[in-house]
Symmetry: C2
Subunit: 374 residues, 2 copies
């Protein structure tokens, strides 16, 4: 599918669809593939949710609210990039649950360059911050854009180090919501010299669950992620986990076992991440790791399986098929492929039944194309 | 070969043979295998050296000097253990260049127990020392003896941590020569509670080249070695290299890239050593890693290929064979196996020619059964 710009009506429909209840990115692309357009999908949504077992009618995201969101975006100087548009980050586009729409402030040209994420502890040590800043600068000198999450500590140090060469901050709330507030100045500097992106609506404060979702965008934008200091069970490890699921390289800076802030990074190394003392440990490990390539190589063409047209022709699932699939679902995540193998119905039919269940609010999606009942 | 004690005459001959010019451990065992006894080998030594191209006659180590060494050992309260004797450390016995004779002060029973080496930087940080001491104690609690080199820093901390549970110091000079002198008290404590061993003659000050040779004994005694802090190109890395050549596990404690003392340990991890934050990272990796086994399992029977009897019957090499072999030798180390493959003479003949060259002072042996001309 060649990159193309959405027209204003399509953009509004995309926004209404992704903001509608129980529609996540994976569902969004499935609906697009199934019905050919966001507008057609919106029409079918209530019926699908109903077939999935939903009692109360599903309310679509109101057109007026979507129009207000677009106006608010314009007010804060942000643009909305749709998946498939020329500026949409190519590495992120290859991810299953890439945001269908990304709000951007700053220079969208940065999104097309090869990027490395640098993430780590908020309560980082002085040494950890120094390492993050120095390595981010060095990555910049080698032609890489540095992505991170604008958090305290390692994230802020990484953005600072790469401010001159190119850095992208991915926010968990709206593209205009600076969190933590102490990073307001850094935020302004990134808007001026780099780029800030977000998938949540303008003005939206981040909820706790938005941070891990944001982390999948940080890793998705990047060829690899570098974890500088990370405690056990920290957000940086979630980003590393996403990176692995997305087929990206994971790098970690080792540290003393006496420092609990290093435990997560050491653990990553123990489980296969590349032990990293300088960018010399990173660059040769990247796909096409040459510096010149990093500067000049165009992104690979992206043609994922859910490219939105033409619409698929899938019959309406029979109740027997639906029953078979639901019977095999439980609270423990199961791979969709496994469901297809076990139920004697077509893959497209399984996808449709899962879609209905999700729209009815009965299904949860997990990394690795797994699903569970709620 | 069942363990047996040497009689006093044999012990004296062993000592004379290993102390004779150009006789290293590998040559020692080859001579024993070839001639059946140290006494027979001593008789043949001058002739072999002569055939290897030596001009000046080779002087054997004088009987009187060997007797004096035995008397000196008794004076400092040390005993001399021969390879194959019941107290000889079983893990070390399996190493190609195990010392034929080991001087021991302290409790020789420790030598039969499963051991882990803990080694590292002399200029270790306070944190590094603490880690070494704590992990040595913890290894002791789990039934392991801790071996090290009585150096400043990590070595001393490791010995201290395992003083109560069992520790072995391996010295580079004579078994009575404390180096560095500041560790005199620690030395005395180890003699009292643990064991001190050495392969060099009593009273001999260590030369620089004795330290790497000593390190092969530290790793050879041990199922695995733990490197706590080690700069690039440090002695601890030599010990790790020996450990790998000897088929032992290598463990390393990670540290900040900003601390040059951690660079060597980090590099070991990068090249496959187990990242180690606590003994929980060590014990499961050891052969038969169960704790109870560590306490009770007897050593595996050792029957290396150079078991000293019966004598081999190898003809005297023809000059053509000798010429062929020498032609393929140079200053770059070459594997003995490769020589055997390339020259059309028997392996035993190649070994004999190399033996002659070594006794003539023209050959150097390297790890991995490699040799080069001097």
């Amino acid at each position: 599918m060649p990159p193309r710009q959405l027209n204003p009506a399509e953009r509004l429909d995309w926004l209404r669809l992704i903001r509608s209840e129980n529609v996540g990115p994976v569902t969004f692309y499935q609906l697009l593939r199934r019905f050919g357009s966001a507008s057609a999908a919106l029409e079918k949504l209530p019926e699908l949710a109903n077939r999935g077992g939903r009692r109360a009618p599903l309310t679509l995201f109101p057109r007026a609210q979507a129009e207000r969101e677009l106006a608010d975006l314009a007010k804060v100087g942000a643009t909305l990039l749709a998946w498939g548009e020329p500026d949409y980050p190519p590495a992120l586009a290859a991810v299953d649950d890439a945001p269908p729409l990304l709000a951007v402030r700053g220079d969208p040209a940065l999104l097309g360059r090869r990027a490395i994420a640098v993430v780590g502890a908020r309560n980082a040590s002085a040494n950890g911050r120094r390492l993050a800043r120095d390595m981010a600068s060095e990555l910049g000198r080698n032609g890489f854009v540095v992505t991170s999450g604008l958090a305290r500590g390692i994230d802020a140090a990484a953005h600072l180090g790469a401010l001159a060469s190119g850095t992208i901050a991915v926010l968990a709330g709206g593209v205009d919501v600076v969190y933590p507030p102490e990073n307001q100045e850094l935020y302004e500097a990134i808007v001026e010299h780099g780029a800030v992106i977000a998938e949540q609506p303008v003005g939206k404060l981040p909820r706790p669950r938005d941070f891990p979702r944001r982390n999948r965008i940080i890793s998705g934008l990047s060829l690899g992620i570098l974890v500088v200091e990370a405690a056990a069970r920290s957000g940086s490890l979630i980003t590393a986990r996403f990176a692995l699921d997305q087929g990206r390289e994971v790098f970690a800076v080792p540290g003393s076992p006496l420092d609990p802030r290093c435990r997560g990074a050491n653990d990553l190394i123990r489980h296969g991440a590349t032990l990293t003392e300088s960018v010399d440990d990173i660059i040769p490990q990247l796909p096409g790791g040459m510096i010149e390539e990093a500067r000049t190589r165009p992104a690979p063409p992206v043609t994922p399986s859910w490219a939105p047209s033409p619409p698929e022709t899938v019959g309406e699932p029979r109740d027997s098929a639906r029953g078979q699939i639901i019977e095999r679902l439980g609270r423990t995540p199961v791979a969709v492929d496994e469901l297809v193998r076990q139920c004697h119905v077509s893959p497209a039919m399984v996808v449709t039944v899962l879609l209905e269940l999700e729209l009815a609010g009965r299904l949860e999606r997990h990394p690795g194309n797994q699903v569970s009942l709620l």
